[in-house]
Symmetry: C2
Subunit: 167 residues, 2 copies
Amino acid sequence: MTQRTFEHAKVWRLGADIDTDVLAPGAYMKHNIDVIAQHCLEAVRPEFAAQVKPGDVLVAGANFGIGSSREQAAGALVHLGVRAVIAPSFSGLFFRNAFNLGLLLLTCEQALLIQEGDTVGFDGRNLLRAQGDPLPCAPIPDFLMDMVQAGGLLRLLKQQAQQTANH
Amino acid sequence: MTQRTFEHAKVWRLGADIDTDVLAPGAYMKHNIDVIAQHCLEAVRPEFAAQVKPGDVLVAGANFGIGSSREQAAGALVHLGVRAVIAPSFSGLFFRNAFNLGLLLLTCEQALLIQEGDTVGFDGRNLLRAQGDPLPCAPIPDFLMDMVQAGGLLRLLKQQAQQTANH
């Protein structure tokens, strides 16, 4: 069960226009998600997959997740335990896939004020930094936060079906 | 049943950062969708709701649909018969809501090459203009096009349930 807030998350800082092929490289798409995840972001941060720790977050520029609709782009980040991706804007398809898989995306106009190596928290509405003002994020409706908390859409539907069956 | 392609659609050209309050003004949110739709885009195009015709399309700049998660922003466009919205990027939440309601969004980097009063077609992959090269759009997965064709997620699920029951 994932919380709707987080604290002290280590930041991996990326640029704009990170596409799905950088997240889930085409050369490995016939493999399982654990293999794909080993190559996640290697084109821009070769050390990422080996060094990222569960609970870390990505902070990136505009248009995160553009490119193909491949669900493995979000799946690789989930597999590696990435807690959230923070960016000024996301590809619509990536946004849909990510929440379906339980990956929290925070749309923050001022995301690029956050630097590599910073730690950030999220109080459900704002990003909190050790120094500097809180950075507001676009509000996320409850049904999407429910998906994040449940670990994805399918798990949420299973939980709801069980709850219905128990009444 | 909506088609996955269209021809000769009249273009309404808008700027960037069209937010959900411009699409579905907060002052009317207690009303039904037919009332909200009468005020759609009135802050930027006062004549829009009265003059838009079913099958027309919107072409806009980046970040279309930013702001709140209110579903009526997409619902107003559906109510008015807007065939598609074409923009270089969309808010993730708006993207999700729009397809759920059966509204086609085409992500096109070069959208702003299309001018007010142009007519455009869509062949399932590219935007076709009377003059100028075809403009490629980000591919849309089948399950989202199925939603558009069915008129939204709920109608698609009903169709699928009926098909299952008939077998």
